[in-house]
Amino acid sequence: MDRRKFMKNAALASACSAAAAMVPGVTFGSVQEVGVSGSGLEWHKAPCRFCGVGCGVLVGVSGGKAVAVKGDPSSSVSRGLGCVKGLHSVQMLYAKDRYKQAYVKRDGKMVPVPISEALDIVAEKMQATIDKHGKDSVALYGSGQWTIPDGYVASKFMKGCIGSNNLEANARLCMASAVTGFLTTFGADEPMGCYDDIEQTETFVLWGNNMAEMHPVLFSRCLEQRRRNPGRVKIIDLATRTTRTSRAADDSFIFRPQTDLAIANAICHEIVKNDQVNWGFFNKHVNIMEGKTDIGYGLEDNFKFKDETAKIDMEAYKAFLSDYTPEKVEKISGVSANDIRKLAALYGDPNRKVVSYWCMGMNQHSRGTWINNLVYNIHLLVGKISLPGNGPFSLTGQPSACGTVREVGTLTHKLPHGVVMNPKHRAFAAKIWGVPVERIPAKPTHHTMAMFRALDRGDIRFIWTQVTNPMQTMPKLKRYFEGSMKEDRFIVVSDAFPTPTTAVADVILPAACWIEREGLYGNSERRTQQFDQIVQPPGEAMCDTWQIIEVARRMGFTKEFPYPQETYIRDVYEEYRLHHVGMKHAMAPYDELRKYPGLQWPFVNGKETKWRYNEKYDPAVKKGSGFEFYGKKDGKAVILARPYEPAAEEPDAEYPFWLCTGRVVEHWHTGSMTRRIPVLNKAMPEGYVEINTEDARRMGIVDGREVRLTSRRGTIVLKAKVNGRGNPPSLSVFVPFFDENKLINELTLDAYCPISKQPDYKKCAVKVERV
């Protein structure tokens, strides 16, 4: 022991004995040095791996391993906060069953092969399929968890090199209705406001959004805002079941599934009737239109729908609203006319700031585009939009649903800037990509639901999925599972862990997960968040971007993918940024992004744009106009008269219960990551079904007892949760979808919104029996 150490220990020992003297009866522990101190960890910034909130985390690294996480105090999103998933996220990297090498199916068995060999096979098979069945027989299916470079090279590879629009991402199942909602109302995607609204507003209206569990860090900010402004700030919960959010809210209104459409119209009815319309704003910045009605549910193969909208005047809109008096809507929705008036009064009060928040409740909806439109209608009528503390805000569920799928445009009809149908947009993309413009096909092919139906039918023969788990998440799962198992289908899966999707794979490519590679995400509030490679991936696990580049080069596209391995993430991002030049969508430069937890676009002259369409904050808005919704040619946003129409399948005598699916705070999506985190698995080990307390009593079902749920598509046995954290109203049940051993999507229906093509996971009919 050196002298310094001796002195330290002596001093500590004396401190201990002094303390012992002060607190009699307590034995103090011996002085021992335990490992290295906290400062021995190196801390690196990253966006959290899980939901779309985009919390900033600091990852602690020791000995080359990620060993700790803390909330990043300098992140304007999370301000040092985290949730139980994010704060334990690094543990998933060390699950024992991580894929560390590639596997190829030989004689019905998965055998390990060097990754270079697996990439050869993928390229050869892809080429052979194109040669035999045409370029639209191959497909790439990605994810809102793809980093921006992953999605960008995927788009360039499929649309610019192979020349097929068979590119989709799982955000179709999660954000498509938000996108079409934004496009139809404002002509441009993504929210006008930002999270800073939380500390400015006085009212939070949560539309079908269990924020306490799904977006806990933002919900904590809402609670804090209320705590600091007692009596003034209100949290209003509009939901189809009672949740943790409902119990924390000032008011909770439980409505019959699908009737949010009617409630939103009733609120508008009251605002118009009470003359609370902000006429100054309305006359200058708003048009009214109507579209097609009775638009179907997309249940049949090759379903087609194209909306047609036409302008109507205020009188016609008033006539439309006359079907939605509070009394009429009480009958449809089950929410009392008084409560509807109360809600309308909050929105209508000119002296009250209001934000609306929603996520899957409104997006996974067979009228998802419509309900997004209808909530915008409310904000447009009262002019509470694009202002600090006032505005509608669509939350996302994946870390880069916005950044990658929506901004890069990894959807069949999209390009990084614009759509494939527009020749100018194609020419613009082709120029940056350095490919002949004829290569980019002008016609969209399959959206996600149609893509998996095409795989089942055999129109698609080869599909490569990355960072997603469709064999757990597709609605009416059995059809798509069986489709993928058919003869002469070739499935390539890039993932970090075994999942139900890797179980159907012909080739498994081991993926570098999150901070094992460099990348960028984009969160719900237009914030781009860069992260470095912080730890090494295990074995031969490879970054998804690099996997695509390797396969593209093997197929002869070396000129299009020239990026050196040392700098390819930065190079790819800087190339991508060229697609978004201009004040409406400029992205921050890579080197700036490295310095900050995240930066919001439009990033103009070194500044973020916090509130779009408002002259005061958005440099793209015409001077002197006050507001300009520049996504639309005439600068005006659109109020769309959208009616209430019933769900695709509603309870009946044979299947009397509504089934709603969703998440719990402990797990994220299909649980392939969170179930590998010990704390989370021990807290929430298996899927369950929430049953209404009265229903359970009537049927003799007690908490923990097994019950059978059956729909027209499948059946499942689950443990009942009675009086748990969520309590659905009578004749409805809720089941989380994280458990791969309890595949609730075998029961769900593949009905989708005809405009967004996003399926409705929140509504179908089941029967419930004691086992």
């Binding site: 330290k8 500590l12 401190a15 303390a19 607190v23 009866g25 307590v26 034995t27 103090f28 522990g29 002085v31 040095e33 290295v36 101190s37 906290g38 400062s39 960890l41 801390w43 602690g60 060993v67 700790a68 909330g71 105090p73 300098s74 304007s76 301000r79 040092g80 985290g82 139980v84 704060l87 060390y94 699950a95 024992k96 069953d97 500390e199 400015q200 306490a212 919900f219 904590s220 900010r221 804090e224 705590r227 943790r244 924390a248 600090p388 503390g389 900050y596 937890p597 973020e608 705070v665 649980g671 590998r676 010990p678 704390v679 698995n681 021990k682 080990p685 009086n723 748990g724 309590n727």
Partner: protein
């Protein structure tokens, strides 16, 4: 879980009385400082920004008024279970991780009130013959956002996760100097919650909790994150809007 008693103070009444007088003075001073601080921030400064401030060694402790006496005024009952560092760390995935909930709790959808009824002020619980740990951040309202019960033992798949080395105790920058704080202060800016009172972890109990202004002598031995904060820009915008 509501059973809770103030612990007996017999035998140290004189000492406790002395501390109580000191406390009154200290609380008054702190209250004034807080009032000034809140004025300066015009009320729209979320309290977790204080975590940020604290991690840069600025003292700003904002804790709701206590309903009972501060826990450190009481001494543990003879024979009561003492919290050890081993137990403390056994409830955390790594040093600094949110602790799990080690006892049965209702999963009834209520997010905070039930937890705070015991964990805000602490106190002796006969059922466990132990003292309730006190949360260092009672202002955070959504407890189960970070803290979860463990209802099964098993894992979904085995893990090769290695728990990192624990913070080194007894660090001084010069011999005889005050001990350094080996952990960040984020959400742990109230030192006394863990380091004082009968519920404190025995190995890390302060010998002089009555001095209260801990950060006067003890500083965080911690890297400062090398990233710029945008919170200042946000505040400017907020001011413009007012």
């Amino acid at each position: 879980m509501s059973a809770k008693q103030a612990s007996p103070l017999t035998g140290v009444i004189i000492l406790a009385g002395f501390i109580a007088i000191g406390m009154t003075v200290l609380f008054t001073v702190r209250g004034k400082l807080q009032a000034q601080d809140q004025e300066a921030h015009a009320g729209h400064h979320p309290s977790w920004a204080t975590a940020h401030a604290a991690s840069h060694a600025v003292v700003e402790i904002v804790v709701p008024p206590r309903t009972a006496q501060p826990a450190f005024e009481s001494v543990p009952r003879p024979g009561a279970k003492v919290r050890t560092l081993r137990e403390f760390y056994s409830r955390r995935a790594y040093a600094g991780a949110p602790p799990i909930i080690p006892h049965a709790v209702e999963d009834d959808g209520v997010i905070n009130d039930d937890c705070l009824s015991c964990h805000q002020d602490g106190g002796y619980v006969p059922e466990y013959n132990a003292y309730t740990p006190v949360t260092p951040h009672p202002e955070m309202g959504n407890c189960r956002q970070c803290h979860v019960e463990q209802i099964v033992e098993g894992l979904f798949v085995a893990t090769e996760w290695i728990q990192p080395a624990l913070p080194k105790r007894g660090q001084q920058s010069i011999p005889g100097g005050p001990l350094q704080i080996p952990h960040p202060l984020q959400f742990r800016e109230n030192c006394l919650a863990c380091h004082a009172g009968p519920q404190a972890v025995v190995e890390i109990r302060s010998s002089h909790p009555e001095r209260e202004n801990c950060l006067q002598c003890h500083v965080v031995d911690q890297n400062v994150p090398p990233f710029k904060s945008l919170i200042d820009t946000r505040m400017e915008l907020a001011d413009v809007e007012k």
